[in-house]
Amino acid sequence: MSDLALSVKKPAAALNGYRFVQSISVFIIALVVISPLFMLFIASLKDDRFQILADMGSFRAFWVDHPTFNNFREVGNFAGELAFGRYLGNSLFILFSTVSLGLIVNSMAGFILAWGSLPGRALILAVVIALYVIPQESIIMPLLIIVSRAGLSDTFTAQILPFVASPLYTFLFYQFFAQLPKELYEAAAIDGASIFRTWWSIFIPLSLPALATVSILMGIETWNQYLWPILITQTDYARPISVAIATFFGQDSIYWDRAMAASVLMMIPILLFYLVFQRWFISSFVGSAVKG
């Protein structure tokens, strides 16, 4: 009896220990991820930019005595009436345009690579994968020359068009479509659907997880663009918020208070964007297409 009790207790104890380690690990990871964000938010509520700098090395970085939204008000009026709103609007416009066009273009390309009767399909796929390993920064100068010669400097087009088609997202869509049952494509062909209609009416509605994944990755990438917009924009006309924030870090002085508030403001749209799309990250009802 005692042997039995022991043999039952041992795994239970091991399980509890495992859960404890697991909980501690999750807590530490959460702390590491959340603490800078929390620090940022707290700092944005502090009025004195020198105090922010002084607090950074201590626990005071996580505490504010007299919270104020002054920084946010100042950021709103920085560089003229509603200029910050303009930057935010620019960023949002670039974000939604790039992601919308990117979803269409990359999913179409992925679909054709997965199911189309394209000559040299395997070669194209190999090239797409090879292109993925080339870092964006390495082609930025040639791209700058092309865009300038095309007369697209300081435009939204210059910030949207070069990033619409992406080898990574085309490959992600290709992989997703290729794992869907071939019979769905064939059933649509027999039903009389054109290849465009098959993509639009059958495969796109089944691709919510892929669409969400690409939207999130592409959205974050677009929102965080810094080097390219700084090179291509000369005026406020098409300048995104990421570049605008850099102006708080002047040559002579750094406006930590405003920079913190601006960073908080910049984070909100992309966090909302993520929250909207993340629910499709894991859910998929494709499995019901076939037996089961």
Binding site: P181, E183, L184, E186, A187, A188, A189, I190, D191, G192, A193, R197, S201, I202, P205, L206, F285, V286, G287, S288, A289, V290, K291, G292
Partner: protein, 346 residues
Amino acid sequence: MAKVSIENVAKFYGNHQVIHGIDIDIADGEFVTLVGPSGCGKSTLLRMIAGLEEISAGDIRIGDRLVNDVPPKERDIAMVFQNYALYPHMTVAQNMGFALKLKGESRAAIDARVQEAAAILALEPYLDRLPKQLSGGQRQRVAMGRAIVRDPQVFLFDEPLSNLDAKLRVQMRAEIKDLHQRLGTTTVYVTHDQIEAMTMADRIVVMKGGVVEQIGRPLELYDHPANLFVATFIGSPAMNLVKGKAGNGGFVAEGGAVLPLPPGAKAGAVTYGIRPEHLALDEAGFRAEVVVVEPTGAETQVLARFGTTMLVVVLRERVDLNPGDSIGLRPDLSTVHLFGEDGRRL
């Protein structure tokens, strides 16, 4: 409805030939089953009729129209797939009406046709459900409904019952046969299950290695198999085959035992075939030793050792036999099948 003509059709994948010049004429309204083991080319042939595989050589006609280069949607066919291939994000009604919607039919016409098909298949209560909310049998019915609403000239079925459990398979088998009897649409049905083929088809095409072994009505194939492959493929339990040599006094099996030959049997037989139900207990018959007895209620299957060969005997009567018993067996001589060196029926 339309006839389907397959003339000298071949299929190559690179240098590898999978279909070797097949000829089949399917009459208007006929139910033809393509049956054979895995890899025999039956599904490839069906997909060539559907237009999902290119034809390497030969001609396929639906009605009088040559369809070799006609895309699937213009062939006026409907296909039911093994895994149903229902569109998961569409309701049953949307799945069934999708082809009509693409044709540009009016909403009212689509609804009417979907209702009609749903009534035939008893799917009315499920029209607003998604495929994931249906059982396997119901999904299979929706797949058939999707085919019916199009009122095609030819129905193509690609192993549609393979994913169902045994009980449901028997039920759906009867439903498909009943549906064909009511609609009278020309049907080509692929299966690896010879029972399915036997019970459903007007005619069966037995294939092996990309070649047609025999075409005929089910009982014709059962009673007069053209060769050893058809003899063993059609029928369950399979035909007993005894190797040996036909002589004047009978068929001398390997090991020396002698089996009686039908009167006027042609010379040269090296394989003696007899179906399990055509062997009867008879003390005056040839001797065999009981190895296993399997009573199923309706019949009793006896596995008996005859020389070096194991024979299966199906007895309708209840018998009291035990392993090790010596029994006498008598073949019904009118049903004995003899095969020559080349495996062909004599």
